[in-house]
């Protein structure tokens, strides 16, 4: 017996406005809308609706809205509808619950409890419209020995660096989990913005080698698409040890999503599952990690920085300390709200820790150990605005990764159904008819708009603080104050309570 699960959302159509043009019917890959020839009217089956708002946005007369269904089980603060429905789903199928995008649960968001300083009277603000305001920065190892050649000139002993015009990069999203057009938009935007996008663990499509200077390629346990040209074509190489949305869980792209093109890019057969388990079975220690870091450097003639990406988990500071000693140039830390194309619900919603706390503690630990300059820190999961970026940098990050925010710019409406592969916005899908809905010419401009606007906002906030270079904001926790935080939280974040003096 399959228990009937009432739909979560209802499609409401204003019949006065609806002209039965059937746009919604064509736009919905979930086949919610249909036309009833007998009555000449549109009907909708809310049970199939994932609330992606595609129809709402495209309806020419704005006749549609999606509302939360008010059907409810007997109200219960412990057993809410969602919890009960999940039990029914599992009893119906025997399956592991699978979700996508970031953790939607109401955990505290520390960004929203941090406030940024501004200068008044004695230390005047700087007007970014008048004065140069530097958002450019470099990622990589800063610690270098001073060596001179035989003529006494300084030798360049600095490790390779990544130059960013703005402290925001696009985080790892593989071709396969997102579409070709989404990748093209990200790559072109990264190029125009002077920043980087990240291939994820899905290989690099032949067409995108031309964006190599703005590309970070990923190496995960399955090594999909990893070969000489891939490594050499990139600006930096990221070893994926973990991901914020599913710490301790690997990637698994079902065979059904491995189209001809995706198979070529990943360099695996079409239709077979692509499994990259959480553990790298050749890495059981920092020494083993060092071996992979060094073999990648060796393969690319020590010309490219190597990033090690880990999920923010309980031991994050100790792990980061190990990574800083592994030869890696950059550590990327992904918080528990990071997005994903598919993750077991229980993992996404219950594993990992907030990025704010992980970042503050990692920066602190690396400084205490005198190795902060051995690595740069990049944080993600989730950075939602330029204010989050400013706060992250003040807490100790060098730069941020954005994933969900970038997809939102491309049209994503956070329906959290990426795992179904039928993204009506042409992002998390490989269906050609859906992919072509995302126009990369428009998409890349929207990304440039978003990050460009953030850059201006960052400059304004920096100016307000009287800081004219992003590097001077890094780890400057005196620029932050907490509100609504406990003594312990303030201590872990290393910030004072609002109202406390310098």
């Amino acid at each position: 017996m399959n228990m009937y699960i009432p739909p979560e959302y209802e499609v409401v159509r204003d019949t006065e406005r609806c002209i039965a043009c059937r746009v919604c019917e064509r736009q919905c890959a979930n086949e919610v809308h249909s036309f009833d020839a007998d009555t000449g009217k549109m009907t909708a089956d809310g049970a199939k609706c994932v609330n992606c708002h595609r129809c709402v946005c495209l309806c020419p007369t704005h006749a549609l809205k999606i509302v939360k269904s008010d059907d409810t089980y007997k109200l219960n603060a412990n057993w809410d509808n969602q919890t009960i429905n999940e039990i029914y789903k599992q009893a119906n199928s025997g399956g592991i619950l699978l979700s996508s995008m970031g953790n939607p649960k109401p955990y505290p968001i520390f960004w929203d409890k941090l406030l940024v300083n501004a200068s008044q009277v004695t230390n005047p603000p700087i007007d970014p419209l008048r004065e140069p305001m530097e958002t450019r920065l470099w990622l990589g190892k800063r610690a270098a020995s001073i060596e001179r050649d035989e003529k006494g000139r300084l030798k360049n002993t600095l490790a390779p660096q990544l130059k960013l015009e703005v402290p925001v990069m696009f985080s790892a999203m593989s071709y396969g989990s997102i579409s070709y057009n989404a990748h093209e938009a990200l790559a072109r935007a990264a190029q125009e913005l002077g920043t980087y996008y990240n291939t994820g663990e899905g290989g690099l499509h032949r067409d995108f080698y031309k964006y190599g200077k703005n590309t970070i390629v990923q190496v995960a346990s399955g090594r999909f698409g990893v070969f000489k040209d891939y490594l050499e074509g990139a600006a930096a190489i990221e070893i994926k040890m973990g991901q914020g949305a599913k710490p301790g869980i690997g990637g698994h792209l079902p065979g059904a999503k491995i189209s001809e093109d995706v198979s070529q890019t990943r360099m695996i057969p079409q239709g077979a599952d692509a499994i990259s388990p959480a553990p790298h079975h050749d890495i059981y220690s920092i020494e083993d990690l060092r071996q992979l870091v060094m073999s990648l450097k060796e393969a690319t003639n020590y010309e490219k920085p190597v990033i090690v990406k880990v999920a923010a988990v309980h031991n994050a500071p100790a792990i980061a300390s190990g990574i800083a000693r592994s030869g890696a140039d950059i550590i990327a830390i992904d918080g528990f709200r990071g997005g994903t194309g598919a993750a077991p619900t229980r993992i996404r919603d219950n594993v990992g820790i907030p990025i704010e706390l992980a970042l503050a503690q990692i920066d602190q630990r690396l400084r205490e150990e005198g190795i902060r300059d051995e690595v740069s820190l990049v944080v993600g999961g989730s950075i939602r605005s330029s204010a989050d970026v400013v706060k992250a940098i003040a807490l100790g990050a060098d730069a941020c990764y954005i994933g969900t925010a970038a997809l939102l710019a491309l049209g994503c409406h956070l329906c959290r159904s990426c795992h179904a592969g039928k993204c009506n916005w042409g992002i998390a899908t490989q269906q050609p008819d859906l992919v072509k809905r995302l126009n990369p010419d428009i998409g890349y401009k929207r990304l440039v708009n978003l990050v460009g606007a953030w850059k201006h906002e960052i400059q304004e906030m920096m100016g307000g603080m009287g800081i004219n270079s992003i590097e001077a904001l890094r780890g400057n926790r005196l620029m932050l104050r907490g509100v609504g935080l406990t003594e312990r939280e303030l201590e872990l974040l290393g910030v004072r309570y609002a109202g406390e003096n310098m």
């Binding site: 090594r223 990893v226 057969p269």
Partner: protein, 239 residues
């Protein structure tokens, strides 16, 4: 070109190999230098001694011959080319190989051939003369692993957890005994003789190491293949 590696640091040795314009390079007195031959595509390296970890990582063509044993992670993510070890190999040999061939005269350690995958004309192959440690061919997604079992220490031909998570490719074990605790999604069947492509690999192995091929080609093998290439198909329910 001849390089005496005695006392050389890994990086200096690798730089010397990279800088060398000649096709054939002989490295003598190798003692544990790592990452030798990384991502090379057109050289013939001949190594005497014991190279360190990650020999021939990302190898993209050409050949590496080692007259001695090799350590861990030989041929990691190798794309094409050939590595021949006139001795035994350590753990994680051929990790995530996508193409090319690895021939080992003696035994290999744990986690040999895990994550190996085939892609179009690239069909990775690992042929092992002796026996293997545990976790042989874990997550194997393609390619061929052959274990000849010519070892004489009486241990089983493969260790525990052979083929866990295997979802493509094939293994041939020269034994009648099905590996202990073979996962349910891996099928084991006896084949009276090797199919031609596998036999060709065994002939290559014999030619390299100067062994008689007759007996090795005439006998029966145990063939391991996955039941399905989508092993996790039914595990999930959308939420």
């Amino acid at each position: 070109m001849y390089i005496d590696a005695y006392g050389m640091e890994s990086r200096a040795l690798n730089d010397a190999v990279r800088a060398c314009g000649e096709h054939s390079i002989t490295i003598a007195h190798c003692i544990g230098q790592r990452y030798l031959g990384t991502a090379l595509s057109d050289k013939a390296l001949s190594i005497e001694g014991t190279p360190g970890n990650a020999l021939g990582a990302y190898l993209n063509g050409g050949s590496i011959r080692v007259h001695g044993n090799v350590q861990e992670a030989t041929g990691d993510t190798m794309n094409s080319g050939e590595i021949a070890v006139f001795g035994s190999a350590g753990d994680a040999t051929g990790y995530a190989m996508r193409g090319g061939k690895i021939f080992v005269e003696g035994d290999v350690g744990y986690r040999c051939g895990i994550h190996i995958k085939a892609y179009r004309e690239n069909k990775p192959a690992i042929v092992i003369g002796g026996r293997t440690g545990s976790f042989l061919g874990e997550y194997q997604a393609g390619g061929t692993i052959i274990v000849l079992g010519l070892h004489t220490d009486g241990l089983p031909i493969v260790g525990n957890f052979c083929g866990t998570g295997m979802h493509g490719g094939e293994m041939y074990l020269r034994t009648a005994q099905v590996p202990a605790r073979l996962p349910v999604q891996v099928r084991a069947e006896r084949v009276a003789a090797l199919p031609e492509d596998a036999a060709a690999l065994v002939r290559e192995w014999c030619a390299l190491f100067g062994r008689e091929e007759g007996e090795l080609l005439r006998c029966a093998y145990l063939r391991l293949t996955p039941d399905s290439s989508n092993p996790y198909h039914q595990m999930y329910v959308g939420n």
